[in-house]
Structure formats: C-alpha cells, structure tokens
C-alpha cells in the first residue's frame, strides 16, 4: 500500500463529473426530493400511526427523518462509486482518456471519490430541505448535517471503490448491494432503535456498519442531542475513511495499471 501523490488535478476530475451532473440536474434533483416524501408519508405517517412512541421523540416520523438523511448519504455515494465509476471506467473508457493527459490515475480515482462524497452532500441537503418543510427539525445544529454528509459520503465512496476495483463485471455489484447495503439499511438504527437488537448485532452495527454512525450523527444534530457517542461516530468515520480512501486508490491502480 502506498500513499497516493495527489495534486490540484483531482479537482479537474471532480469538475468533469460535476459538469455531467449539472447537465442533467433536473433528473438528478428529483429522487432526493421525492423519495423522502414517500418515506415520510408511508412510514412516518402510515406506519407511525400504529407504532408506539420512541422515548425522546415526539413521533415516529421524527425518529425516521434523520435516518432518511443518512440513507441518502449512503445510497448516493455508494452507487456513484460502484455502478457510476464502473461505467466510466469499463464501458466509457473515460479513465483511459484522462490518464493520457497530465492527470494521474491516483488523481482520477481521488476525484471520483470526492465527487461521490459531493453527491452525498448535494442529495442530503435536498432531503434536509424536505424534512425541514415537514417541520421535523428540532435543533439549529442541523446546519452541520451537510458536513457529515460529505464525510460519510467519502466513507461510502471509498468502500464502494474497493468493490469496483475487485468487480469482474457490473453484475457483481448485486453482492454488496444485497449483502452490505440492504442489511445496513435495515439494521443501523434507521427504522427502530439499535438498542432493540440483540447485543451481538448491536456490537456488529457499531463496529462495522458505517451507516450506524451516519444515522447517529444525523439524528443527534437534527434533534440537538449532542451526547458523547456523537464524538465516537465522528472518530469512527475519520479513522475508517482515510484507510479505505487509500486502499481503494491502491486497488484501482493495481486493476488498471498492469
């Protein structure tokens, strides 16, 4: 494993992805705008009416709203750096074209990772606006959530890029989608408190599932419960992210440069 040498050229790769995103911004802005509305109505209002109150929250809808923020962080960055990056790498040969210029392969991958994090930031900010419109924000600390979205987005992007580096073909991504993303979606304190899970599962959720920490932070900041376990989540993400960031660049380099 080598630390990648990165220069300002990372931004040129980021900018390329950003330009593409902005070309189709209408399509890109719709899912983060509509999806939380469906969830809030169906789960929050519908399911919420038969769910007993969770301590510390006025309603079930308020409990799941921050989870929707965290899920948006996860989905946008993870799928950008699996399917999105794979298409650019394998089908479009975009990386090949870029590395024929002074931009290096390390910078291409870093640009993709930072872009994945940016997508998380953009989408999560839109979801946040929807949640605000539902009147569910309980604390001014919500303003820090986009920063969390970027950090957690970088975590998910980096993990995703490791899968991209080992993917023999695009169908491979079904494995991480069903074995990693789906369980995380359900078991990270998203739709019920993590404390309701068996002890061992709780430990696994805190130790290995990044979404647990994204949910934790989103919920804490949205409700203004700044307890010490928030710091733990910040530390977890700050330690895990650089490891996967560097690992994914190394793996991709090994895959692309024979």
């Amino acid at each position: 494993m080598k630390l990648p040498e990165l220069t300002y050229r990372v931004w040129k790769v980021w900018r390329r992805d950003f330009d593409v995103f902005m070309k189709t911004y209408k399509v890109n802005f719709f899912p983060p705008l509509l999806e939380p509305i469906f969830y809030l109505v169906a789960l929050g209002i519908g399911l919420g009416s038969i769910v007993q109150a969770i301590p510390g929250f006025t309603s079930y809808i308020q409990f799941i709203a921050p989870a929707l923020l965290a899920i948006s962080m996860m989905n946008n960055s993870f799928f950008e750096c699996t399917y999105g990056s794979f298409v650019r790498m394998y089908y479009q040969k975009t990386f090949d074209a870029i590395i024929a210029t002074p931009v290096s392969i390390e910078e291409v991958i870093a640009g993709e990772l930072v872009w994945g994090a940016t997508r998380s930031l953009i989408s999560t900010s839109i979801v946040l606006a929807v949640i605000g419109a539902f009147g569910l924000i309980g604390s001014p600390f919500f303003i820090l959530i986009p920063i969390v979205a970027f950090l957690a987005g970088l975590t998910f992007s980096s993990i995703a890029m490791c899968f991209t580096a080992i993917a023999p073909n695009i169908d491979f991504f079904n494995y991480p989608a069903f074995l990693f993303i789906t369980p995380m979606f359900l078991l990270s304190g998203t739709f019920f408190p993590i404390a309701d899970l068996p002890g061992l599962v709780q430990i696994v959720a805190y130790a290995f599932l990044p979404l647990t920490h994204a949910v934790n932070l989103a919920r804490g900041l949205m409700m203004g419960n700044l307890e010490s376990f928030l710091l733990l989540s910040v530390i977890w993400l700050s330690v895990v992210t650089p490891v996967f960031f560097v690992l994914s660049i190394n793996l991709m380099k090994r895959k692309l440069i024979k």
Partner: protein, 307 residues
C-alpha cells in the same frame, strides 16, 4: 532524417504481463520531426509500446526516454507534450463535441479562453463545426475518429501518437487524416503511428519499424525495405507445374511463393526482366506489378493468422 535529434529512445525496453512478454527487449529511436510507423500483426506489441511512450503503462525493464526525460520519472511533463489518438473510441459520451474538447483542455491546464479558441479552430479544420453541440452518440464513426484526432491536438503536442488512425474509415476520411498528418509534419510535429495498412505506412512514414512477437524484426525507409526484401517488380502467374519449373530454371536466385492458385516471383534483378521473360514464353494469367510494402510485411511476418 540522417543527422536529426533523437526525441524518443528505447533501450532493451521490455513489458511483461504475468507470463506473457508483450515487448521483448527492443531498442529504437525516434527522431524529431519524422513520421515513424510501427507495423506488425495483431499482438506484435505495437500498442503496448505506444502506451509505454505516453506513460500509461509502466515498463517491466529497460529504459525509455522522451526528450531525455525518463517515462517512469517525469510522466506529467512527458504527457504534456504528447497528443494521443487511441485505437478505441474513448470520447466522453456524456458531453457534446465542443464540451469534449473543452473538458480535455482542462486536464492540460489550458486557459479557458485559449482552449475555446483552439477548439473552434480544430472543429473547423476537421469539419465538425456543425456538430459542435451534438452528443457523441449521434456522431458517425468517421466523425468520432476526427474528433479523437482533434482532441489529441488540443494541447498543441509536439509528439502525436496515432494508434491505427484510419481503421474502418472510408477513403475520403482516410485522405483527410493523411492530409492532417502531412500538415502536422510540416509544422514540425513528430508522429508515431501504428497501422495495418501498408499503403498508409508507405504514404506517411519516413521510417518504419516492423514488430513481431514483441521484437523489432526490421527497420528502415519504406522504399529501402521494399527494394531489400521484395525487389523492384513482382511477377504473378497462374499455378502450373511446368511453369513453376520454367521459372525456377529462368530465375534461379528468385524467391517463388505459391499463394492459392497463383505463383509470385520475387527477384532482386532490375526492372524489365519479367517483361522480357514474358515476351519469350507463353504463361497463363501473367501480371507484373511493382513490389510493395505488403510483400515485405508478409515475407517477414509470415501468412499465419494471429489471434
């Protein structure tokens, strides 16, 4: 090209992929301002060599320098002075024609205004002005190739690498690309090209290197190689055992090749020997033609199909 400056130099250049040796300890030089062609059957190592020159494939061993810079040490500096038109289409399908050029210019740190001016010039030159706002998917193959070439020139490279630039193009488009290559030569751009078309190599290249199985097996000026390996003229006649015998007696030093139902006779004797031979004897289906680079290529690399 005799006393020219060396621009690219390879010494014992080797590239291995696991057990397979793609480039096997080759030595060559490319001189400033020349057009140098790499010929060879599929899998000979041409594209691998090109990719090492523009620093996207690391060497396994040996030495490779561009403008006295080692490819492994100064890839950015080298890539800045090179334009690459790859074999595969890797235009950015998410962008329009114009945007493809501008985004590419950005990777080279070109100022936006200057990049725009340069892109306009290139679109005009390659007759793509009307397509400037069209998405790549809607371009024909020929237009895509032209755009790839335009993109390769956006950074005003002093070295242009063309990997099979005219494969699959119609004669009109081939000639546009040939004209471009001639024009760039006049401006002093050094060009390295790979091709499977021998007429293209003969038309464009000052010097050619013939590769096979990762090695350079012959090099020189196209005309010299033709003279050396295929002589001046080639006689082709219908196959017949009696004719074969006559030919062997008449041209004891010649190389006779049977291809299908035809005999080809190669000799290093001057123009006219075949004509006088035909005047004195009756041979069916006889034709005399000038020897060409394809004769050389097939002689050196054989007729066996490659994977």
């Amino acid at each position: 090209m005799s006393h020219s400056e060396v621009l690219i130099e390879a010494q014992s250049l080797t590239k291995k992929f696991d057990d397979f040796t793609a480039v096997d300890g080759i030595n060559f030089q490319v001189f400033k301002g020349e057009c140098c062609g790499f010929l060879g059957p599929n899998g000979a190592g041409k594209t691998t060599t090109i990719k090492m020159i523009h620093c996207v494939l690391p060497l396994t061993s040996g030495k490779l320098t561009v403008e006295n810079l080692e490819v492994s040490e100064k890839p950015r500096e080298i890539k800045k002075m090179i334009g690459v038109a790859p074999q595969e289409n890797n235009l950015d399908p998410d962008f329009t024609v114009m945007h493809n050029l501008l985004v590419y210019a950005r990777y080279f740190d070109m100022q936006k205004a200057y990049a725009k001016k340069r892109a306009e010039e290139l679109l005009k030159f390659f007759q793509l002005e009307e397509k400037r706002d069209v998405i790549i998917d809607q371009l024909s193959t020929v237009m895509k190739r032209r755009l790839i070439l335009a993109r390769a020139l956006i950074n005003e490279p002093q070295i242009l690498l063309l990997d099979e630039p005219t494969t699959g193009l119609d004669p009109q488009a081939r000639h546009l690309i040939w004209d471009t290559v001639h024009g760039l030569r006049k401006q002093g751009v050094t060009i390295i090209l790979t091709t499977h078309y021998m007429d293209e190599a003969a038309e464009l290249c000052d010097r050619i290197l013939i590769m096979d199985y990762g090695k350079i097996i012959e090099e020189g000026k196209p005309a010299d190689l033709v003279r050396k390996h295929a002589g001046e003229e080639v006689l082709e006649v219908d196959y017949d055992e009696k004719v074969m015998k006559t030919l062997q007696e008449k041209f004891p030093d010649a190389r006779l090749e049977i291809i299908g139902d035809r005999i080809r006779v190669f000799t290093d004797q001057p123009h006219g020997v075949f004509a006088s031979f035909l005047e004195s004897s009756q041979v069916k289906g006889a034709a005399i033609r000038n020897a060409n680079l394809e004769d050389v290529f097939l002689k050196l690399t054989g007729r066996r199909l490659r994977e």
